[in-house]
Symmetry: C2
Subunit: 147 residues, 2 copies
DNA sequence: TATCGTTACTTTCAATTTGATAGTAACACT
DNA sequence: AGTGTTACTATCAAATTGAAAGTAACGATA
């Protein structure tokens, strides 16, 4: 990579961060992947203030990462389910987790296993075409034409 | 995955987020990977207030993702370089970027190429052992023993 | 029938964080 | 002597956050 000044609005990272760029949102997505769906489940798991949780669930829903579904009419009760976009956030979560495991990994940590063959999962980011690990080969960044 | 309640302090994702869990920090790391090293380069690239930038550079430095190096004695001038931990954040950045490209990708976006063979890079997260894409197989989460 | 518990919030308000603007310190250059 | 560059700090208003309490709609229990 090389560049003096990276155009922010054409950067896919900045685009992502505009939607899930705070810790609470990411932790909510983590818990949603862990199977939680309901307000109080998230609240208890995260120790988050209900005001915050309401706001975060609302923005994640507006942004299309979660969808709100009424699971009971009487009394009216809602649950929050991952959308396709939300489910596709899983690789991001895994890579964040791998970094944390490597650099902030003191003590005992949660681990992940393949549910079928039982092997422990260690996520790595690779280039889909060459299979080379990200970070092992030099990268060239290309800005879009200012059309 | 399955669990009613995920222990936050044993979660590697939560561990990461405690250190780089805000958008400015991640964008600073992005720019650092893009070759920026100096205060004013970051400030101009990000449009960040200098107070914020000072604070974020200081915490990223404390946390060992960046290191501050004096590159001129007279006048005293500092630059910020990625540490090994900072460099290893690159896969996280790529996965965040891939998600943004897929789900927030309207308009023209920055693209990345292998500097040597010229192929475009598309990062995917896979399990290091089986090579299976993360998200394509069921996962079992195991909490650490409460020793 | 009264009260209690559960779920999913909202209200209120103080504390913290943020961001915009301006200023500063140490120099180099002209 | 005056201007420019770099890397900040100071000030302060505005926005965000978080803690605590309250509310609404019900169902279950006594």
């Amino acid at each position: 990579m090389n560049s003096e000044n990276i155009a922010n609005d054409s950067c896919p990272i900045a685009r992502s961060l505009a939607f899930a760029g705070d810790a609470w949102s990411i932790l909510i997505l983590r818990d949603a992947h862990g199977g939680l769906t309901r307000f109080d489940q998230f609240r208890k798991s995260l120790g988050i203030a209900p005001t915050m949780l309401t706001r975060r669930l609302a923005t994640l829903t507006e942004e299309g990462l979660l969808e709100k579904r009424r699971y009971s009419e009487h009394p009216p009760r809602e649950e929050y389910l991952l959308t396709a976009a939300g489910r596709d956030f899983l690789p991001v979560l895994f890579m964040i987790g791998e970094w944390g495991r490597q650099y902030r990994g003191g003590g005992k940590l949660v681990r992940f296993f393949d549910a079928e063959n039982g092997t422990e999962i260690k996520a790595v980011a690779v280039d889909e075409v060459t299979g080379a690990k990200i970070g092992t080969r030099p990268i060239r960044m290309v800005m879009p034409d200012a059309s």
